[in-house]
Amino acid sequence: MRSPSLEEGPPVTAVLTREEGLHYYRTMQTIRRMELKSDQLYKQKIIRGFCHLYDGQEACCVGLEAAIKPTDHLITAYRAHGYAYTRGTSVREILAELTGRKGGCAKGKGGSMHMYAQNFYGGNGIVGAQVPLGAGIALACKYFGKDEICLTLYGDGAANQGQIFETYNMAALWKLPCIFICENNRYGMGTSVERAAASTDYYKRGDYIPGIRVDGMDILCVREATKFAAEHCRSGKGPMLMELQTYRYHGHSMSDPGIRYSKKDCVNLLYWLIYIQGLLSG
């Protein structure tokens, strides 16, 4: 689905090689296992503080990473473990950070919400605050002229923050190479999107910024849409907005007992895709 300001959308078909398929699968499974383990460790009080788990949304981070280069930039909010991994932090460093040890990627000082890596600007606790930052990074990309872009992520809850709209305006005005990505997992903490937003068409919220709505549970959709958006930004046409419709299996954080049921599992989806296509070795 795309907003009227886009003349054509991303392709509806994709090519997946065996190597890619297995790599994506392995990455998504690793993240899934890591998040489930973190859940366990939290309940054992080995991880303390706040812990916002990403399981269910793996196709988003893996799909995004598949479409961009390591020299591109990414910033997101606090549900960041998946991105810390795809942007190059090891599982060991992530778990060490979660448990507050100095081997962690932020020396144990940041915890769950504040993980950083090369070209990955976190890991941000205050809802929506990372979005203007993302536009700033995009400005630097444009200024340095190295054909880099910035992916600026936020959630459906953050979409109602004033600073998001301020950022849209600046990015469009100055044609910044910024892809705004709304990870819409239908719930801002415990509040469903219908109760929080006058318009749940998050991909249209950018108004004059062209937007597309993407099935965030299908990794190939995410990848192709991101490639399209990245091309748009790199060609100097200005920012784009992507809404990834996805789902988280845990509550907002480990303090939220919310149990959600989803029929779609992005990891399973990929598994069956590569199985059916005969890409798994005999």
């Binding site: 503080g49 144990g108 915890g111 919400m113 809802v127 809850g157 801002g188």
Partner: protein
């Protein structure tokens, strides 16, 4: 598998045995809550913890004031700290309602509600999130009456927010931002130490004809339990309370830290034979200069303690005023035992907070000055 329980060796996360002190020390609280004595001065009382005393105050308000409304993120189901449980069912969704995730909008909206004449009680989910609303509070709420020559005011606005360290909050769930607002004439800032204080002070804030910010120590929500009157009662703002009289040192704090300094006073008496006067400041702005100065004139020594960072913390304001008013009475430099000038840490919280040992140490230095 992980072994559990105390003992010299314990299986660490990676499955290898690592030396571990007996029991997980960092789970122990840094204070012991000291309830006030039960009193029947305001009628029948009920056992309540801090969040229940807040609910009681809000319940009283909604029942007596037909214009009162409560709004904020997630308040409808009862709030993330259960302060508004049952209120929506009792008073209706027109009076207790959720807002989207927009602090600036919440406070701006609250100012509008108050200016129009209704009683607005806005909840900011954590004091750490109040900063998007800072402009609205400082530039709009605080100045409305003054700039309109008293034609308009938003005095019926009260902003409530959970405040202070909680053991595991880290950077964005532990802050004590009272000092930022102390610098703003036109608002009042109030911080209770207990359920009994909270209900009386909150009701006073709601009644007060100025916009008020009411910070609730989140670590006390469940930990503090007292007998609290069911009917409304009012504790006056801008009046500090002397909890314990003494002759040698004045200790001043607010919120959770009051319980820490009470313990320090006991330690000082037992170990050093030093008699401490313990003051709960309660209202940060406008603060009770008279009570503190009167005490320092008597004792000659002052120690102020708060979790917020040292530089620019409210202790610096108290210190400055006291040295102006009581210079010749001072026997030692005024001591401030506060958080370090860093963001509130994740894993280092036990080292960061001004615990009783740091306070005791500072007190000893003052006595020996």
């Amino acid at each position: 598998m992980l072994a559990s329980g105390p003992g010299p060796l314990r299986a660490g996360v990676w499955g290898r045995l690592v030396p571990w002190a007996a029991g997980p020390r960092r789970h122990a609280a840094h204070f012991t809550f000291q309830p006030d004595a039960e009193s029947s001065a305001h009628g029948q009382t009920q056992k309540m913890n801090l969040f229940q005393s807040i609910t009681s105050a809000l319940d009283n308000t909604l029942s007596r004031d037909p214009t009162a409304v409560i709004f904020g993120e997630d308040v409808a189901f009862g709030g993330v700290f259960r302060c508004t449980v049952g209120l929506r069912d009792k008073y209706g969704k027109d009076r207790v309602f959720n807002t989207p995730l927009c602090e600036q909008g919440i406070v701006g909206f609250g100012i509008g509600v108050a200016v129009a004449g209704a009683t607005a009680i806005a909840e900011i989910q954590f004091a750490d999130y109040i900063f998007p609303a800072f402009d609205q509070i400082v530039n709009e709420a605080a100045k409305y009456r003054y700039r309109s020559g008293d034609l308009f005011n938003c005095g019926s606005l009260t902003i409530r927010a959970p405040w202070g360290c909680v053991g595991h909050g880290a950077l964005y769930h532990s802050q004590s931002p009272e000092a930022f607002f102390a610098h703003c004439p036109g608002i009042k800032v109030v911080i209770p130490r207990s359920p009994l204080q909270a209900k009386g002070l909150l009701l006073s804030c709601i009644e007060d004809k100025n916009p008020c910010i009411f910070f609730e120590p989140k670590i006390l929500y469940r930990a503090a339990v007292e007998q609290v009157p069911v009917e409304p009662y009012y504790i006056p703002l801008s009046q500090a309370e002397v909890l314990q009289e003494g002759s040698d040192v004045t200790l001043v704090a607010w919120g959770t830290q009051v319980h820490v300094i009470r313990e320090v006073a006991t330690m000082a008496q037992e170990k050093l034979g030093v008699s401490c006067e313990v003051i709960d400041l309660k209202t940060i702005l406008p603060w009770d200069t008279e009570a503190v100065c009167k005490s320092v004139v008597k004792t000659g020594r002052l120690l102020i303690s708060h979790e917020a960072p040292l530089t620019g913390g409210f202790a610096s304001e108290i210190s400055s005023t006291v040295q102006e008013e009581c210079f010749l009475n001072l026997e030692a430099p005024i001591s401030r035992v506060c958080g370090y000038d860093t963001p509130f840490p994740h894993i280092f919280e036990p080292f960061y907070i001004p615990d009783k040992w740091k306070c005791y140490d500072a007190l000893r230095k003052m006595i020996n000055y």
